[in-house]
């Protein structure tokens, strides 16, 4: 074998006790080593913090209309009104507060739909990959079918039919995204199924369900985590696109996509309406992708070869 038969165990066991708590420490160390990973992680933490503490952080009620203070520029610009740090929108609502509140829905939709997609996709992928044969054939045709309809198109039709609301949005995005997981999990399952530890368990007569749960599932989770981070990012953008088509989260619920899309008529006249939510999306997506890239490097067994 080649140089990748390297491992960290020390033969004499001098440092063995230290190892246990090292898992966390080494993870954080590796995070700190990656500049982009750290950057992404920080952004995500901040966004989460903002989402959780939105009511405490927002200076104004995000939906409070104020006809007198419409389209005020950010407070740090000429003509800006103090108290409205990022200015106001066409109904005189505070943009900062809206962005702060918007983080909640954007994250909620992004994360829940990915979890939903993940659950469906992992289940189907596991079953398809593990049992193979005609089950696999049928499920993969199903995957092909979904894959050949563009996500946004499916979402568009679905939302037009059922009406846009946060739960339908989560469901539709979940239902459109599961195929990616199903494919990857199936592929992983196919290879893990042939790994020797699974064969060992099979030769012991361990039941199929148990093998799936105990031996296969834990080992596909990491690829799920890697693609799901990216998926959260694309979902946030997808929600914005759907808002553009009038099928995103509907007011008075605030989402970044909604604010961005509402502000698009004002891009030429009052740029701050659309620019700040756009920035919020961009930065968050950037953070998520960076974090995802780092996670991939850490979790992908192929890149782990040298310990």
């Amino acid at each position: 074998m080649s140089a990748n038969i390297q491992h960290t165990a020390d033969p004499i066991g001098i440092k063995s006790e230290k190892k246990k708590r090292n898992a966390f420490v080494s993870l954080s160390k590796s995070l700190l080593k990656s500049k982009t990973g750290t950057f992404g992680f920080l952004i995500i933490i901040i966004v989460f913090f903002i989402a959780v503490f939105a009511p405490l952080l927002a200076p104004h009620d995000p939906n409070a209309i104020n006809p007198v203070k419409m389209l005020q520029p950010p407070s740090w610009l000429d003509g800006g009104e103090s108290g409205y740090f990022l200015g106001t929108d066409n109904l005189g609502r505070d943009i900062l507060s809206r962005i702060i509140y918007g983080s909640r829905v954007s994250l909620l939709v992004g994360i829940s739909s990915v979890i939903l997609a993940g659950i469906i996709g992992i289940l189907i992928g596991l079953v398809s990959g593990y049992y193979g044969k005609w089950i696999d054939a049928i499920l993969m045709r199903l995957v092909d079918s979904f894959l050949s309809i563009p996500n946004i198109l499916f979402a568009l039709v679905f939302l037009a039919v059922f009406g846009p609301s946060v739960p339908t949005l989560i469901i539709v995005l979940g239902v459109t995204n599961w195929t990616a997981y199903a494919r990857i999990v199936r592929g992983e399952t196919l290879s893990i199924k042939e790994r020797e530890y699974v064969r060992a368990a099979r030769s012991l007569g361990v039941k199929n369900v148990k093998i799936i749960v105990r031996h296969i599932l834990p080992n596909v989770i990491s690829s799920f985590i890697v693609i799901s981070t990216l998926s959260v990012a694309t979902t946030i953008i997808l929600e914005a696109s759907l808002s553009f088509l009038g099928l995103g989260v509907q007011p008075p619920t605030v989402s970044w996509g909604g604010i961005l899309s509402d502000g698009r008529d004002y891009l030429a006249t009052s740029w701050w309406l659309a620019t700040f939510p756009g920035l919020a999306i961009t930065i968050t997506v950037l953070g998520i992708i960076f974090l995802g890239d780092w996670l991939r490097d850490v979790l992908d067994p192929r890149s782990q070869s040298r310990s």
Binding site: S145, S148, V161, A233, I237, A240, F244, A274
Partner: protein, 305 residues
Amino acid sequence: MLKFLLKRLLEFIPVLLIISFIVFSLVFVAGNPVALMLPEDASQEDIERLTAALGLDQPFIVQYGKYMLGLLQGDFGNSFRYNTEALPLVLERLPATLELAAAAMLIAIIISIPFGIWSATKKNTSMDLLATGGAVLGKAMPNFWLGIMLILLFSVTLGWFPVSGRGTVAHLILPAITLGTGIAAEMTRLIRSSMVEILSQDYVRTAKSKGIRDFFVVYKHAFRNSLIPVVTITALQTSTLVGGALITETVFSWPGLGQLLIQAVNTRDMAIVQASVFIIAILVILMNLLADVIYRILDPRIKYS
């Protein structure tokens, strides 16, 4: 090769069946389009009359059966809004969308291949960070926002390109950039990781040990190998591309399938929705098939007779 194509084409049948079922169910659940077709002050009686006239009061199975029967004869039904057959309407729009998609893909390829390779060979340097950061940025920008910004900058302020519409090459540039940016971003990342992996392969080391210049090592030995996954990925982008076209076309009033579709969805003109989804699905499938064929041509390891 012929057999392979035949086999793959046969596989499409169940896929298309499933698609038809999904789409038809959605459309069925979507409910009665008649109310939308009539004026805002139409009476209930008017609505019921038209519903019956269009056969929309029959049970699901009957309607689906009729629909499938029609499909087999290439009939996607009539557009309620345009009062003509849906399929020709869709096909008529296809060229515009294909033109846009092809241009966007071209832009994406022109951007992503050099950047992807470049950042892979400069892995982990600040140049790499810059390129990948740029790619992420491209991915993070919503299409419509980018499109409007491009119009404001290049058309309104600088006056370099026409604002909207289809016609000359000049008309194509801004929408193609808008649509291509996201794809370029995605592809840059994919090409980079594919290249990084291939550059660490044994045969690349072999090539170097023969004393070949780095440039040729990268372009002869690594790039062609990295093309194989890239071809597949490019084909997979078809779906994203068409999806993105929905938005880009609206922003630039590009007279393609996307606009037709959005109008159709908004007016519940389901025959058009069905036909377009179907055509798009076939397009996506064909692109994937094409990718498979190219893959086979590029990779001598896969045998075909």
